[in-house]
């Protein structure tokens, strides 16, 4: 990286941009209430006012501009009473606005906003008798005008600073089609920032190497850019994503959903890896910041060279790329109603969920199924009733169905705020005259499947000691659980240490893992179609639920569980995503992959990675990069779905816990995203340290 890029990185890390920040959010409420606007118009008005209030900031080092000056808080468009009235009896998803999606960036960059405006203008002409459509189209036009106006003010500021290079770019985009790589990056930077500016969050950057490559290719071809200049621009763009991200905190700082998805196949199923794919990996490796978070789509045939390049990021401890296996993901999506063309175009949402950019109003994280809670109830009731394992499993099935139905029914009442500007960025909203909040081509929900290994281990332990060996009495087990193993330490050690465990390629435990996921899939399939016209997608992730489901969280819809029969004490976290129960002795990464390869990923397809920690000592010799790349390939060859491979130095993390001031830039993988270790709260830091104590070396 050259000096300019280094300066930009330091400024972003030091949050220099904060000095430009306005102290107060706008207050637009009295204004819009006085005009008595529809909800749609209120959202358009919000977009317009936020854009107007932005103050153009141009750093002399920047070639790609936009710095957010408005604070994190998004102005209200309703009073609390009005909001109450609007949403009573309805379900609000998280904090409300549409989130965790990826627009059709390729379309909007290549066509420009003015072309979208033309579609809306035609719409207005053609739907004079349809007030709802009219409301949508007119609102969309307001938002488009306000974003172009914001770009114009940036252009004006650029002219004032005599930055004619920037003036030229900003006169073209985002209003008109991007013609160069730089224009495309600028357009994306501005549009992506506006989505956050108006309250959307965890908005992904989709298949960046696909929709950006044509611009770079023609620049290279026409001699407008060489690879070094391309590197420079891309690095600046990546750094820019770290600039305002303190405004997008998520559940923990860093959980901001700024993901990109690289590689994969094109619409014909041919490999889509290109020069930009590799450039993104190289730039990300060198920039070494938490955003953008990279997902790499691979197959069993992906070449080791690309995997080795990706592994260099793992070696740096960035916690990405996360890998998805096209061989598994694409057919599963097709099986569940996605067209082949769309399935081939999937991207990864904020963490791991597979979505089709521009095409879906999917809520892929409506909550989590707690496998351990289901198993815990079934075990207690079943053992008390004197049942054998078959009876207990019947009860598990009932509990799983109950939890799935509860979440799905809750989301039947989902209400989403209108999103006229976000609709402009989607593939079909304007042509169909339908706001995104009213649905799109795909309207599915996703549920995480949390604590699967813990729950399977609990069943395996009961099978082993209560039924096979008959060495633990059912009433003792229940008493021990009730007392959180106080006074039952020997029993706890037996359960935790001597039973078969998921992650060891041991069918005595893995069979329960498979059964649990099949029951989850059965429950989702049995639920059928929602009133929104979608289905329920079961997944294998935990998100933050590995902690929430054991410690509780305000207003959580999921059940909390205390001590569990795999020997886990109350309050201790579950494994993150697909990982063995924490603290279990595991044979090694092959066995972990072989265990989790047994899950039927054609039915469990919402995403959720196998998570493997390897010690950084693995990387001590030259061959190691290629061999870790082989491990990644093994994951795909075994037919697994998603992989998260992390490499860390335990001592460094312990030192960072004690002396955070020395480790400001230490990056770790948290659940579906990477963050700065020192910016996490202690319970998340502890869980990551505990994970790495058991890293493979």
């Amino acid at each position: 990286m050259n000096e300019r890029l280094k300066r930009l990185k330091v400024k972003a890390r030091d949050l220099d941009q904060k000095s430009y920040r306005q102290s107060q959010p706008l207050n637009i409420l009295s204004d819009i209430n006085a005009q008595n606007l529809t909800w749609m118009r209120r959202m358009a008005h919000l977009t317009a006012r936020q854009c107007q209030a932005e103050v153009p900031i141009i750093d002399p080092d920047e070639q790609i501009v936009f710095t957010r000056t408005l604070p994190a808080e998004i102005p209200e468009v309703y009073t609390p009473e009005q909001w109450q009235e609007l949403t009573t009896g309805r379900t609000i998803h998280e904090s409300g606005p549409i989130n965790n999606l990826s627009p059709d960036w390729g379309m909007v960059l290549s066509q420009g906003l003015l072309e979208q405006k033309q579609i809306a203008l035609d719409g207005v002409m053609n739907c004079q008798n349809d007030p709802e459509k009219l409301d949508f189209y007119e609102s969309a036009i307001i938002t488009i005008d306000s974003v172009i106006e914001l770009a114009n003010r940036y252009a004006k500021e650029a002219r004032r600073q005599n930055r004619m290079d920037l003036v030229e770019v900003l006169q073209q985009v985002p209003a008109r089609p991007a013609q160069t790589f730089r224009e495309a990056l600028q357009s994306l930077r501005l549009l992506h920032s506006v989505t956050h500016l108006i309250g959307h969050y965890q908005i992904g950057l989709g298949r960046f190497d696909q929709f950006m490559w044509p611009y770079l290719r023609s620049d290279l071809h026409e001699g407008r850019l060489d690879m070094e200049q391309a590197y420079d621009l891309l690095a600046e763009f990546f750094i820019s994503l770290n600039k305002d991200s303190d405004l997008y905190p998520g559940v923990q700082q860093g959980d901001n959903g700024q993901t990109i998805t690289l590689g994969g196949v094109d619409q014909n199923g041919q490999t889509a890896v290109n020069e930009l794919t590799r450039l993104c990996l190289r730039v990300s490796r060198d920039v070494s910041m938490i955003d953008p978070k990279i997902n790499l789509r691979i197959t069993a045939d992906t070449d080791l060279e690309l995997l080795s390049l990706a592994t260099e990021l793992t070696r740096k401890g960035l916690g990405f790329p996360q890998y998805s296996n096209d061989d598994v993901v694409i057919p599963a999506l097709v099986k569940h109603g996605y067209s082949l063309e769309d399935a081939r175009d999937y991207a990864v949402a904020a963490c791991w969920e597979f979505i089709i950019p521009g095409k879906g109003m999917e809520v892929v994280n409506i909550g989590a199924l707690s496998f351990p809670a289901a198993v815990d109830r079934a075990l207690r009731d079943g053992l008390l009733a004197g049942e054998e394992m078959a009876g207990i499993l019947d009860r598990v099935r009932t509990e799983i169905e109950y939890q799935v139905n509860h979440l799905a029914q809750t989301y039947e009442k989902l209400i989403l705020p209108p999103a006229p500007f976000f609709s402009v960025l989607m593939s079909d909203c304007l042509s169909e005259g339908k706001d995104l909040s009213k649905g799109a081509k795909y309207n599915n929900f996703g549920i995480h499947g949390a604590g699967s290994a813990n729950a399977a281990d609990a069943l395996a332990a009961v099978q082993e000691f209560v039924f096979n060996q008959r060495s633990i009495k059912p009433e003792d087990l229940i008493a021990a659980l009730d007392q959180d193993f106080q006074g039952w330490e020997d029993l706890r050690v037996t359960l935790a240490g001597k039973a078969p465990k998921v992650g060891n390629d041991d069918d005595r435990a893995d069979t329960f893992l498979v059964t649990l996921f099949n029951m989850f899939a059965d429950a989702c399939e049995a639920y059928g179609t929602t009133t929104l016209g979608g289905i329920i997608r079961p997944g294998s992730a935990t998100a933050m639920y590995y902690i929430w489901l054991t410690q509780g969280f305000e207003d959580m819809r999921e059940p909390i569980v205390g001590a569990t029969a795999e020997g886990r004490q109350s309050g201790k976290p579950f494994g993150a995503n697909l990982a063995p129960t924490q603290g279990v002795q595991i044979r090694g990464p092959f066995s972990v992959l072989l265990s989790f390869a047994k899950i039927d990923y054609q039915r469990i397809y919402n995403g959720g990675p196998i998570t493997i920690e390897i010690s950084d000592s693995v990387f001590r010799d030259r061959d190691s990069i290629q061999k870790v790349a082989m491990l990644v390939r093994t994951f795909a060859q075994q037919g697994c779905q998603q992989l998260q491979l992390n490499s860390m130095n335990l001592e460094t993390m312990l030192d960072a816990r004690a002396h955070p001031e020395n480790h400001k830039n230490l990056i770790v993988r948290v659940w579906g995203w990477s963050g700065y270790f020192c910016e996490l709260t202690p319970e998340y830091q502890d869980q990551i340290i505990a994970r790495h104590i058991y890293a493979f070396d």
Binding site: K627, M630, T634, Q638
Partner: protein, 251 residues
């Protein structure tokens, strides 16, 4: 069916041969090298390791059937990635009949034998018929020094080197570089001279001294008393080998 005594099975072993492998560590070794960093591999019986954090039984008897079964589950991974199984130790030759039986039960898996060469030549010859690659340790060429630092002289090891080179099995010579002991011009030159022109020699790997070698002695109830300066940097004089046209690298 035979039983063997092992002290670890390590998956994704990436420093133990081509591709990605699983290494089986056999317990028991006839030598007692002063720099041995696996002291728990030396005794041929199960033993308790006592660490500040607690106790752990090291050494597990396993049947050839069970071991082969476990390894066979990973056969596809090995095959697709140019990897396989490595038998290491301790000293695998001490349990050569067991290993031979395990190999017979494997599903066409690449096998690497990592040996110090101290064992019955007949056993070795027999085992060589079943393995694909050998890592052969040469430590010291001087018999007296060898006796002093490993507890045995090296005549058997040098004899077995001849057996190896006549077997047709490709092999890699591995030399641990112990400062001032094995890492001397004299010793390395003698090694180079002995192995040049041996049929089957693929290359020489020089293994720089591991400064944490002493870490496990106390836990194993043994005394760590290196008779050399651990801190001294290794010289790793590659030229001694390249001059003789021997392919050499530092690991």
């Amino acid at each position: 069916m035979r039983r063997g005594l092992i002290f670890d099975i390590k998956e994704f072993a990436i420093h133990d041969g081509p591709g990605i492998r699983t290494t089986v560590f056999l317990k028991g070794c006839p030598l007692a090298c002063m720099w041995c960093h696996n002291p728990e591999g030396q005794s041929a019986t199960p033993q308790i390791l006592r660490n500040p954090g607690g106790e752990r039984l090291v050494g597990e008897y396993i049947t050839s059937d069970d071991l082969a079964g476990r390894l066979n589950r990973q056969a596809k991974i090995f095959k697709q990635n140019g990897g396989g199984v490595t038998f290491s130790g301790g000293e695998p030759l001490m349990q050569s009949a067991f290993i031979a039986e395990v190999i017979t039960l494997l599903d066409d898996i690449h096998v690497l034998l990592d040996t110090c060469g101290y064992g019955s030549s007949d056993d070795f010859r027999h085992l060589l018929k079943k393995v694909d690659l050998v890592y052969y340790d040469l430590k010291l060429m001087d018999p007296e020094l060898h006796q002093k630092f490993t507890g045995r002289d090296n005549s058997l090891i040098l004899e077995n080197l001849t057996v190896l080179s006549q077997s047709g099995v490709p092999f890699v010579i591995r030399v641990p570089l112990i400062p001032t002991i094995t890492d001397t011009t004299e010793n390395l030159s003698r090694i180079a001279n002995r192995i040049q022109n041996l049929p089957g020699l693929v290359k020489v790997d020089l293994l720089p001294y591991n400064q944490s070698a002493g870490a496990k002695y106390e836990a194993a109830g043994m005394r760590w008393q290196p008779d050399y300066d651990e801190k001294k940097p290794v010289t790793a004089n590659l030229k001694i080998f390249t001059d003789l046209g021997i392919n050499v690298g530092v690991k």
